[in-house]
Every structure is written in C-alpha cells, then in structure tokens.
C-alpha cells in the first residue's frame, strides 16, 4: 500500500478509531453472512420438496388434459378453455429475512368450484373438469415454486454481496489501516529519537 497518511498523532488517533469500527463491522457482517447461509439452506431443503411437487402436478395435469383431448376431442377442450375467463387472483406480500426482502405469494381462490366454472356443467365432460382441476393445482404449485425460487435467488444475491464485503474488510481494508497505523507509530518514534538527539546536542553546545 502506498502510505499517504501524515505521521501525526491526530491521524493515529483517527486511524485507531477507524480500525476499531471496521473490526466491529467485520464481525457483524460475518454473523450476517452465516445467518443468511443458514436461512438459505433451510429454504433450499424446502425448495426441493416444492419442485418435486411441481413436477408431479405437471405430469398429472399433462396426463389429464391428454385424456380429455383424446376422448372429447381437441376442439371440445379448446372451446371450454375459451369460456374460462376469471383469472386466478394473487396477492403479493413481502417478508424480510435479515434485510433481504422476499415475496410471499398469497393465493386467493385459484381453485374454483365446479359450478363457478364458466363453461357449463352440461356442455362438458368430467374429463375436462378433471383436467381443469389438475391445472389449477399446477398453478398452485407454480406459485409456490416461484415464491421459493425468488427467495432463494434473493438470498443468494445477498450472500454473495455480504461475502464480498466481509472479504474486502478482512483482506484489504483492515490490513491496510493496520499497516498505516504501524507506519505512523514508527515515524512518531523516529521523530522522538531525533528530538532527543537534538536536545542532547544543544545541551552539549550550551555547556561547552
């Protein structure tokens, strides 16, 4: 490091204060990082289950709609689909995990009752109803997966950022300040010795 501090006592005091502060911040950030990682691994184990569920409900939905299409014909399914028009409603809230804002998806009635569906009960078959139910379930699973995936990604981002800050403090900022402190201390001592010698010389001259 290029030492560009003035070797004065006031600088030294300032430096000492800054080192103390940085070390405190470093400890705190380290704790935050560990906490985030713990939170992350918890969320991760949840995510595995959610993704598995997503895969299952997708396969189920695919199967149901294939059956519906095979038996009732594609056109039938399509017309039923065109009739459906009430969009599922969601609500988005946010939750705060150690300074990371993550979304919480609240599902408002994705699943509809049979009689609430826009295509009539008589006009369509049970297979189409089943396919619709399967897809509604799939949407549920998707929402859950989206929530958990966003949470994971946000946590990852924050972990990365915190890690970078911890490392910067540990390997760059704090060592540099410590070096500067050492330099100042050394320079001050050197000046002191200079002064003593000078005084001695003056004294010798005065006595002579």
């Amino acid at each position: 490091m290029a030492i560009d501090v003035k070797p004065t006592r006031s600088e030294l005091i300032k430096l000492k204060r800054r080192i103390k502060l940085s070390e405190k911040g470093y400890e705190l950030l380290k704790m935050k990082r560990d906490g985030l990682i713990m939170e992350f691994s918890e969320t991760l184990s949840m995510a595995r289950g959610v993704l598995e569920k997503l895969r299952e409900s997708y396969e189920n939905a695919e199967q149901k709609i294939s059956i519906a299409k095979a038996i009732d014909g594609t056109i039938m399914v399509r017309s039923a689909a065109l009739a459906a028009k009430s969009e599922p409603e969601f609500e988005l809230r946010s939750k705060n995990i150690m300074g990371v804002v993550v979304p919480v998806v609240k599902r408002k009635r994705v699943r509809k009752k049979l009689s609430e569906r826009e295509y009539g009960i008589i006009g369509t078959t049970a297979r189409i109803d089943e396919a619709t139910s399967a897809y509604e379930e799939l949407i549920d699973a998707i929402l859950e997966a989206a929530e958990i995936e966003t949470t994971l990604l946000r946590l990852l981002e924050e972990i990365e950022r915190t890690k970078r800050r911890v490392n910067a403090l540990e390997f760059k900022v704090i060592p540099e300040m410590k070096e500067a402190k050492k330099y100042i201390e050394f320079a001050l001592q050197e000046m002191e010795r200079d002064n003593i010698i000078r005084l001695k010389k003056i004294k010798a001259k005065a006595e002579a």
Binding site: V77, A81, S94, E157, I159
Partner: protein, 105 residues
Amino acid sequence: MKERGFRLAVVGDQEFGLGFRLAGIRDIHEVSDPAEAENTIEKILGDRNIGIVVIQQNIFDNLSVSLKREIEERTEPTFVKVGGEMGVEELKEKIRRAIGVDLWK
C-alpha cells in the same frame, strides 16, 4: 416489489397453453419458433405488471444465450420453467457460484 404488479404469464406452444387457459389464465403467449419466443419474452420483460412467467422448458432451452442470461440474472419477473428439469440445474449452478459448495445434495 411493491411497484410490480402481479400477473401470471404463460409462454409455451399451443398444447402447453391450452391447459392454463382452462384454469382461467388469460395472459398466454403461444409461440411456435425460437425467434417468436424471443420477441415475446422481450415484451414480457418490459411489462412491469407481470410477476411470474411460466415457461415451457424446451422453449427456454432454445433461447439465445444472452436472453437466457438476462432471465437468469433478473429476480423479477420470476421465471418458472415447467416440464423437464424444472430449472434445477441452473439453480445448482448459481448456488455453487455464490456459496462455493454444492448445497443441493
């Protein structure tokens, strides 16, 4: 996130979209070739009302590398890949990069 609205969009081929249509979702983009898919996704990325995008895995796979990266680096909207691997691989890769260990196992 508050400023971002919350709608669900679906990107996939015709077959894929049909089921979601049954469940009442209106925002369905049916795409048949990669170029069309890319245009659609650009549009979706620009739409601040969309919070979640459901995308068919093989359509996602055929996107250009830069667009994929764009999707991956954004946290909003969230892309949920459906069909096939469900995006597990990408997630693993990201975890490896951020933490340095594969925590997935």
